[in-house]
Structure formats: structure tokens, C-alpha cells
Amino acid sequence: MKAPLEPIVGRYVHFDILGEACRVYFEECGQGIPLLCLHTAGSDGRQFRHLLCDEDVTSRFRMIAFDMPWHGKSYPPVGFQDRDYELTTERYMATIRAFVAALELDRPVVMGCSIGGRIVLQLAHAHGEEFRALIGLEGADHQQPWYDTSWLDRPDVHGGEVCAALVSGLVAPQSPAQYRHETLWQYRQSGPGIFRGDLYFYRVDSDLRGKLGGIDTNTTPLYLLTGEYDFSCSPEDTLRTAQGIPGAQAVAMKELGHFPMSENPVQFKKYIAPVLDAIAQREHAAPPPGS
């Protein structure tokens, strides 16, 4: 075959989430430390396609990105048509832990962005020992709501167009046009009401201020990276969060916005590579407890 073939492999896995059978699509590439990637609200695992094709990464990490139910190529559970989609902290945590169990991942690293950046804080707080390291991109314990999300899901406004237009301002102006528009395309493709449903978690159900005690960054290192052009989760939000977690490492990323891994993969690599190096070196130096 002469045509370029990417090394990413996509498959479906079946497992239950909160008692409901789910068929979940995931993509993976690489060998080594399992690293689970969590997409942003209203998008899907394609956001991580660049990291999944980066040999510097996949030579040491088994990179896995799944589409949450209702997103990308993962259908909603049977009966979804009779209720509105609403992501709660409980559902999000259950989804991640059920996926890890389904694939029998051994203390994976989890890297999440936006809502994924928020949930890694809760993972660190409630189940830190289950993970080798946690990476929150564009994550903080709380952000002030700044617009009425009802505009994202109503029949007289095109949902895909408005979701993409709204988040377009969160992409850094330096990001290449190709990747800016790929990032926005995923929002244009999102199912009706799904972005808004994800934001229920972000806006209503996950104010973690004052609730992140007991995080042990010696056992599970915690890295928080936020793009300087992200005015939804600003670097100030992230730095404030990190200051409350002993040992958490926070970095403000230049010339990046809310979607670092998909909007400008070259720029993002400058920041994520040292984090992945540190995780790999730690693994090499001292095997995790119980291994």
C-alpha cells in the first residue's frame, strides 16, 4: 500500500455505566505506560489524534482516547431519546473508571482537557491511588459561568454552528488555520444538546473549591497546564487551584488556547513533552506501589 496509513487503531468495547449497557468507541496507539485521554465538552477523542501519532510519545506510552457515550462514534445508551443528556460528576467518574476496568488498564495516566481537566482533580481527590499520574489541561476547581448555555440547544438556533462559534474565541490566534477549523468542526458535528449537557458538569455539578483536600501528589503526580488564550478556564484559575494542592505543578502555556492538543500540536508538544518525560522517568526509577 502506497497511501499513508496512520498507526491509530479504532475499536468498540461494550461495558455498563451506571447500570446501562454502552458501546464505546476508542482509538489507541503505542506501547508502554497506559495513558487515557479525555476530550473536551461537546467534542470527541479525535482531539488527541496528533499525540496518538507521535512516535516520541507512543514509543513509551499506550495512548488511548475514547468517545464518551453521546459523543463521536459512541452512541447514547438505549432509551436516550426519552431524556435530556446531563453529565454529572457521578456519571463522569463512573464512565472513566468503567472504561479503565473494561480495558483492564493498570494504573493509567489520565490526561483530560476542559471538563476532562476538571475531572482529573476529582479523580486525584477521590481515587488518586488508581492512577500513576494525572494531567489536567485547561482545568481548575471552578470557573465563573460567563454566558447562558440555553443558547446552545434550542430549535431556532443551529446547534453545531453556535457551539463552534462560541468556542472559536477560545482558540489562540496563533494556531494554524487547519487545526483551528478541525477543532471547530468537531463542535459543529456534536449531537444536539450534548455540549450543553456536558457543561452541566462544568457549571453546576463540580464546584470543587475547598473540596480537594487529601490529594497525594507524591503517589500520583498532578500536572495542570492551561493556555494563555483560554478565557473560560484562565491560567489564573488554574494557578489558584494548584496553589491549594501541595505538590501540584502548574504551567501557563504561551500561544495556546482551550484546545492545546488539537489547535496547535507543535506548540503543545513543547509543554507536554517534559511532563511525559517526567512521568516516564519516574516509572523507570521507581515501580509503582504493589507492582
Binding site: S168, P173, Y229, F231
Partner: protein
Amino acid sequence: MTEPLQQRFESIARRVNADARLVHRGRYLSADLKVVVADVPYLLRIRGGRVESLQSQMPLFAPADLVIRGTGEAWAALWEPMPRPGWHDLFALTKRGAMAIEGNSHVLFAHLQYLKDVLALPRQTPAH
């Protein structure tokens, strides 16, 4: 400082109507926008995605579908070739209090990307 800002804003009419793709994207929008650049109010009349007229002599209490009001600093920052973080988007400016958008929100959200792109046009090159 105000005059160059006004000139840059006034270039929007020519820029929009010269951009067939932008006009096409706005083809379902016909609205009157009151845009306040620093202390100068403009009436921007859009019909089918084209700028029908742009006038700075706006009568008091003239009706408008949307009112978009920004400080001189806000518009100047938005139109920098590579705008600074937090000054790079209508909503970023709104969130920081340097801009206010009021009126019929349905017009705004139904045509959000078109309106963002129209109001960012002076960023591209000098007006004249």
C-alpha cells in the same frame, strides 16, 4: 487615537461587501446593529449578509436589534494583528468588562460566527 479607530471600523462596510464568502455566510441575516466605537455610535445596517449602510450620525433612540459597545482600548486591542490574551475575542472582551452586547440575543447567537468575523475584519490590514 479615536479617528484612526473610526476609520478602521468604517472600513468594515467595504471589506464585508468585497468578501463573497462572508456575505454568503450571512445571507440569512438582516438586522440593524448599533456599534459604539469608543464614544462614537454607528448604525450598521446588514441586509442578506451585505452591509447596506454604515452611518455615524445615528439618531437618538433609533431602534437596533443589537447594541455592541466597546471602549477604544477594547476595539484597538481586538484589531491588533496578533491580539493579546483576553483581548482577542468579543466574548473575552465582554467577560473582562471592556465590551457590552445587548439587545436581541437570538440575532447574536444565530449568526455568531458571522458577526464575530465581521467585527474582527479591521484586524487584517490597515484600513487605507
